[in-house]
Amino acid sequence: MRITIRVVASALLLLGTAATLPAQDIEDRVEAGRIDLAVPDNPAFNIIGGSSSEILRPSSLREVSVLLGDMLSSNPVIPKATAFEISPMLLASNPTLDTYAAQRWLYSTRVSFATSTENNGARQLSFGIRISLIDETDLRTNDQLLDAYRDLADLSNTAQSKCFDEIRNREDVNADNMPQLIDSCVRKKLEIQGILVDSIIRAERTRIRGTSWNSAILEIGAAGAARSSDSLVANLMSSAYSFWATWAQPVFGPHGQLLLGLRGASVRGADNTFGEDEAAAALRCYVGSNDFKGFLEFDFLARSGMTPMSTGALGIELNLSNGIWIDGSAGLEKAGSDATRITGGVNLRLATPEIE
């Protein structure tokens, strides 16, 4: 699964969205730690400032992600913020595995919608899209996993054939109970050979997840938001645009990953024109394993009205348990002609737990 990306995306959501943050907040954030530039899990929710604590994530691409935020804050029925994300192609069609593998980018395309109500009654609507052009961490089409499954399935099918021979002439067998008898017979046969199929499948899945943490990923996303000073649709005006791109590539065999993140945003300012632009890039190199790795990174952030700043840092990232990560880093930050400053910090990060 997209372990690294999910971690980063969750952190981004926890931190909020730059497109809706004032410059000081961005500076504070840069000072507090690294800028994370992965495509967020729900671009539409991200651009209007949704946070990960408000997200109920889908467990699979097929499901609709429904996000409810501040549900009970002022109105017990109507949520203050709502968002959802869907994969239209998976909802509209039922692809076969080979079709899915051939057009994975199409089936992984997710669109998101979100709304929010501000304290002053202003409403925001947003639309987002993200596409995984490359995702070699997808277990459905992972060659290593499918090779292992193929071998197990061959053992299972061969054992089924033998079991059918053994039971077909038994007096107690009929068409209804034959599948159950074959299933039981196959599992016994394989168990005698030391093959506990369910355990092996789970172990193989865990192993592949562990070794594919640094697999290649290329994901892009974009979102646009509109704001109305009241609840009238006629008063909606575009208020922000954002795009994200994340590219990851394995380096040092199974022991490293190079990660590049880009983000751009344009926000309508107080003068009612689009002028608050932002561009950010981060290059990060991980070395280690999925559970424990060190990293070296360089971040760059430029924003209208703010001195561009760059940061370099060294750090470590530790997987405390499924879905919980902690990282610590120390580095240097340079903003314009200001003196170079030392930065550092420890962050706790929450990611979508992986199914074991």
């Binding site: 699964m1 467990s59 699979s60 039922n94 692809p95 076969t96 595995l97 080979d98 079709t99 899915y100 593998a101 051939a102 277990l139 459905r140 992972n142 996993l145 499918l146 499954y149 193929r150 197990l152 399935a153 061959d154 299972s156 099918n157 061969t158 089924q160 054939s161 059918f164 077909r168 002439n169 038994r170 007096e171 067998v173 009929n174 068409a175 034959m178 599948p179 074959i182 299933d183 196959v186 199929v197 369910d198 499948i201 789970r202 899945r205 199914i355 074991e356």
Partner: protein, 134 residues
């Protein structure tokens, strides 16, 4: 009483018998073993003891049974399926097996939707082939 197999009737002179195997509407990994046994000796027919395939590639999973068609009289066609869950999310699957001859569908498996329970499931399609009129 030993199990009674479904019987597929075919015409001895209407051309080759074809078997189509597919797993529509599923992202689960499905693999099969196709075998054909001789009616009298219960031995596998040469070339039909170990035909395997899966739903990972886009190649057609279509097979011609021995020709001329009448040599299949009394043979038992066995297709063993194993369905596996790649990511632990579960999911549903269908198994489609079709026997054709001369453009006519002689037999089609029931269109049943199954939900995988656990990591692996097994299913069987076992048919007896008989010449019409026997």
């Amino acid at each position: 009483m030993p199990i009674t197999l479904p019987i597929v009737k075919f015409h001895p002179d209407k051309g080759t018998l074809w078997v189509d195997i597919a797993y529509p509407e599923t992202l689960l990994f499905c693999r099969y073993l196709l075998q054909l046994r001789d009616a009298d000796t219960n031995e596998f027919i040469e070339g039909y003891d170990n035909i395997r395939g899966d739903n990972e590639n886009s190649a057609d999973d279509t097979y011609a049974l021995p020709t001329p068609a009448y040599v299949n009289d009394g043979c038992v066609l066995m297709i063993f399926h194993t369905i596996m869950d790649q990511n632990g999310d579960g999911g549903s699957y269908r198994i489609s097996v079709t026997i054709r001859q001369g453009g006519t569908v002689l037999w089609k498996s029931p269109d049943t939707k199954y939900d995988i329970s656990g990591e692996l499931e097994m299913k069987q399609t076992i048919l007896k082939l008989e010449v019409e009129g026997d």
